[in-house]
Amino acid sequence: MSHATASASAPLDEAPVGSPAAAGDAARRRFETHRLEIYHFGIAIGAFALGALTAVMQSLSRADIDLPMRSEKLYYLSVTAHGVLMGLVFTTFFIMGLGYLLARQTLGRVAWETSAWVSWWIAVLGTLMTTLAILSGTSTVLYTFYPPLQAHWAFYVGATLLVVGSWGWCAVMLRSLVVWRRENPGAPVPLPVHGMVVTVIVWILATAGLAVEVLTMLVPWSLGLIDKVDPIVARTWFWWFGHPLTYFWLVPAYVIWYTIVPRHIGGRLFSDPLARVVFVMFILFSTPVGFHHQFADPGIDSGWKMVHTVTTYMILFPSLVTAFTVLASFEVAARLRGKKGLFDWILALPWKDPFFASVALAMLSFAVGGFGGAINAAYAMNAMVHNTAWIHGHFHLTVGTAVALTFMGVCYWLLPRLVGKQLVLPRVALVQPYLWFLGMLLFAVVNHWTGILGMPRRVYSGKFEVTELGAEVARAWESWTLISAHGGIVLFVSSLAFLAVVLGTLLFGEPLAEPPRCTFARPLDPPPTETTIWDRFGLWTVIAVVLIIAAYAVPLYHLYTMERFPSPGFQPF
């Protein structure tokens, strides 16, 4: 019996295209195809939900607003949970899911898919361990976990497993690239995967430093195998990891800006080769910059801090190029719709599309946050902002908006494509990015100002009433802290709106008979046909390793050879 006859004779099993049953089938097929990605996005969004819940009480606590159950223990525990869940879990799982999706769509496959699932399980197990360690109250060490603050061993082992899982992702991504290259000799790597391979390389270079800190110091120390660790050595390895971590977050957001948004709004990518140059520069300059997080540390010579200042400024360059290329791509979209004026193209952009609005607002935030970053990196000027509220103001504009809002926005694009369902609550989805932007204006921008006024980051209360002088000084930032508390509430509402749209679509979304496909921006000029030097990842990685050695070898040699007095662990929480 032929297939056609079967469907004619059994209409209940094979409903005609366009019927609800057929649409349900199409949706289910999409889900099956993308199960791997969906499970990664699922963990990411779950971590986001928990992270958002812990965040809102913090902004209220800093303004000294008394909430039921408010306590120092809960406050610092929630700062730890928020940092780990948002900065390490939400981002890492989201980026892994995005990487798999882009490989599947543009390389035609995810190689070693079984290994990808094993990696997912390892990373989930690690996430659970770390999260439980934090919630148990035995690991209130914040997401920077500087020794001699000592967490429960499960905190460090869980974090290690999360990173080991992400290394599995790196292997799968690179394997997918190798297989594709063998089948397409000489062809340029599709741009979305080019950016994701750069993300993989940045992550491997970054986590090498973290592995040294966690595996040789913190894990054996927390298990009691070694008594003492050196805090400055630990901080140095941590910030070897900590700055490229921010580019591990940012480059995937750039991939979305360069390769998905222009197509989504009906435009073209302004320049394909320059996008590759930008990505490669992140391989080179992401890592040899860590001392700009340690300007205020003893034990590191100021000359080496100066070297890291110079490399840090280099990394402004690819972001400035991105600002031009992506905005020009947007302009192309508006010009293709016939806009001819100097500025009217801006209004002609699809501001009522939640995905576009998210990305445009994310870019606007990044323009402010990027210049703030240039101030942080300014060697001696850093002393005016170091560890003040300015710092969390800064990174809530960068990772908290440029990256997070882009990831939330792309979910509105991903959902119909991955689960084959129509987005529910479109108005809520549209309001959500604007609410986020408003919330960050009130929270993040204002915290830059309270930081300048001297308010430190990570404090249970901004009142400082221990001394009369403290209370008087704190009055200068009191009203600003109250504004930032309102920002926290707006951000929480925006998070709920996002979660409502995502969960609503998953549970109640109308199945689409023909779900939209994932399509990527084509460049304005004909796409490149041959591999260029910008696709030679091995070469750039070698140069990056040389730069890292040049930036770190001597100061690390100094640290390891001078007479040092390491510390036992402390648990003042």
């Binding site: 120092e72 603050l149 805090p231 320049s271 540390d297 003893p298 100066m306 190029v321 400082f464 000029d525």
Partner: protein, 188 residues
């Protein structure tokens, strides 16, 4: 590689901007010796409170040239000493360390901002305009981190104190001399 004219102009503008930023930082560092605190000295945190310069000479020492050295210990959740008085407009060198976890030392409204790390001596020199400054810990150090604060008083009385101490010292020296004379007389 073909680069659009407008884009090329933008790339040059970006380059100029980065060079200008770097020049501002490097020139300030070179001509005004503006550097972040980067002292290279270690100390055993177990001995800080019992047997170290921090146990013996905690607090302010005003030198003859008007400059001052301040030795402070940052520990959960206090700065010792809790009130520090230094002369205005003179170079003040801070030497600090911690016997427990990492703390921050931030003098609100100034560029005195450094990490205080167990096992290391933080040292830097700066100067202050007259006034009373809030000193606070800006690195999470435990559940009462936000209560860790102290006061820095900058005024001319620190110098007066020195003068007074000097006078007292001179008096003592004179007394000693008299005493010596007396003794000498008796002996003679």
């Amino acid at each position: 590689m073909k680069v659009d004219l407008y884009e090329r102009i933008w790339l040059w503008m970006a380059t100029v901007m980065i060079v200008a930023f770097l020049a501002a930082v490097l020139i300030a560092a070179g001509t005004h010796a503006v550097h972040p605190p980067s002292h290279m000295e270690t100390i055993d945190p177990a001995t800080v409170l019992s047997d170290s310069e921090f146990a013996r000479e905690l607090g302010v020492i005003v030198h003859d040239d008007g400059s001052a050295t301040v030795r402070m210990v940052a520990k959960t959740y206090v700065f010792e000493p809790r009130v520090v008085r230094v002369p205005a407009g003179e170079p003040v060198t801070f030497r600090m360390t911690s016997p427990d976890v990492i703390h921050g030392f931030q003098v609100v409204g100034t560029n005195a901002n450094a990490m205080v790390v167990p096992g290391y001596v933080t040292q830097f020199t700066t100067s202050f305009a007259p006034g009373e400054y809030l000193v606070l810990c800006n690195e999470y150090c435990g559940l009462s981190h936000h209560l860790m604060q102290s006061t820095l008083i900058v005024d001319d009385r620190a110098a007066d104190n020195r003068a007074a101490e000097d006078r007292a010292a001179e008096d003592r020296a004179a007394d000693d001399a008299t005493a010596d004379d007396t003794t000498a007389e008796v002996t003679r």
